[in-house]
């Protein structure tokens, strides 16, 4: 093992997680190389200092008590039941907010596609001159409207639903093929 190879494995050496052959080779190299012994000592020193600094810097920190109160109050079941139609609903992630928005948009798009498909499969319906009667097709769907504000995270102030209606009166031919 040369110096480059040893230094590549120095963290595993410090962890004591080198496998048998590598561990032996590392120890043999250390016995013969003063520079690498110094490197190991330096790495140990830096690791100890950083570790101690991290602990010293954070040991006085404690999770604020309000988290105790907030977390049980916002258990998953309760969140699900209050997640729609109330003020101050907070999405746990931006991804979920996007999903809800996309779902609403997809519902609107599907309603439009359905309308087009209905018309395409009954071509006679769109030829009033061959029609002997008529019918009215009405599609209604909920459209969610969100009010957001930029606060801590992604906060929805309110969610409201409006019902959008597409209504079309079409003629029906008794025999669309004629």
């Amino acid at each position: 093992m040369n110096c480059g190879s040893f230094r590549n494995h120095v963290f595993e050496y410090l962890d004591g997680s080198l496998t048998g052959r590598l561990q032996t080779a590392a120890e043999e190299h250390l016995d013969a190389c003063a520079a690498c012994r110094e490197f190991v000592a330096e790495q140990r020193s830096i690791a100890g200092s950083l570790s101690r600094t991290f602990y010293d810097a954070t040991e006085s920190l404690h999770l604020p008590p309000q988290t105790w109160e907030q977390v049980p109050a916002a258990s998953p079941g309760e969140r699900r039941s209050s997640a729609v139609g109330t003020k101050g609903v907070r999405f746990p992630s931006r991804r979920l907010a996007w999903s809800v928005g996309l779902f609403g948009s997809a519902a609107v798009l599907m309603a439009g596609v359905l309308f087009v498909v209905v018309k395409a499969h009954w071509p006679g319906l769109i030829h009033p001159e061959t029609a002997q009667t008529s019918m009215s097709i009405q599609l209604s769907y909920p459209v969610p409207a969100y009010k957001f504000h930029a606060g801590e995270g992604f906060v929805v102030d309110s969610v409201s639903y409006q019902t959008a209606v597409i209504c079309q009166t079409v003629a029906i031919s008794r025999n669309p093929r004629q």
Partner: protein, 191 residues
């Protein structure tokens, strides 16, 4: 509630497990979150969301790692989202000034800023991937292969990031924190 009972409760998504999760792992997660994001207010939110997400996905915990390691993986994931989202925020100067006043008065924030200002500042100067490996290595006391598993990268990548991050921290903090002094280590102390 011991660790086994707590794991069972989390797997069953028992809401009563939340309080025990906070008791057992809340402070440690919070400290780690403070190191990862540098802001106690955000760290509190991150821990809050970590615990909620843990309970929601408790049935997915397979027990291949300790409960804390699993919770910390969730925290890491949420922290990455936090850093990604923060890049998109356009700060309003007026709002920032208004917010700075109450934050300075918070004793928790003061404590962080006064006792570990240099460390926090140096950590925040690192990129998120380098900060992650430092915290996992020197605060969570993880071995290289454990860090690689937690972050989903190769051991070589972890070592490369670690070498770089240590060199940076050494250059920034050596005079203030006596980084090169020989000292006892806290490594493995908490595991």
């Amino acid at each position: 509630m011991d660790e086994k009972q707590l794991i069972q409760a989390v797997r069953k998504q028992d809401p009563n497990a939340l309080q025990d999760l906070v008791l057992c792992h809340g402070d440690r997660l919070f400290r780690s979150a403070c190191l990862l994001c540098g802001d106690p207010d955000e760290a509190q939110d991150l821990v809050h969301n970590t615990l909620l997400q843990a309970l929601r996905s408790g049935h997915r915990f397979e027990g291949h790692s300790s409960l804390y390691t699993w919770l910390h993986a969730i925290l890491l994931n949420l922290t990455r989202h936090y850093h990604r989202d923060r890049k998109r925020i356009i700060y309003d100067e007026e709002l920032t000034v208004q917010r700075a006043i109450p934050v300075e008065q918070d004793p928790t924030v003061l404590d962080v800023k006064l006792t570990s200002g240099a460390l926090m500042e140096a950590l925040q100067r690192l990129s998120a991937p380098h900060r992650e490996v430092l915290v996992l290595r020197f605060y969570e006391n993880m071995k290289i292969d454990e860090i690689a598993g937690q972050l989903g990268v190769s051991s070589g990548t972890v070592k490369s990031r670690l070498h770089y991050a240590i060199a940076q921290m050494h250059s920034w903090l050596a005079p203030e924190l006596n980084l090169s002094a020989t000292s006892g280590t806290h490594e493995r102390g908490r595991r």
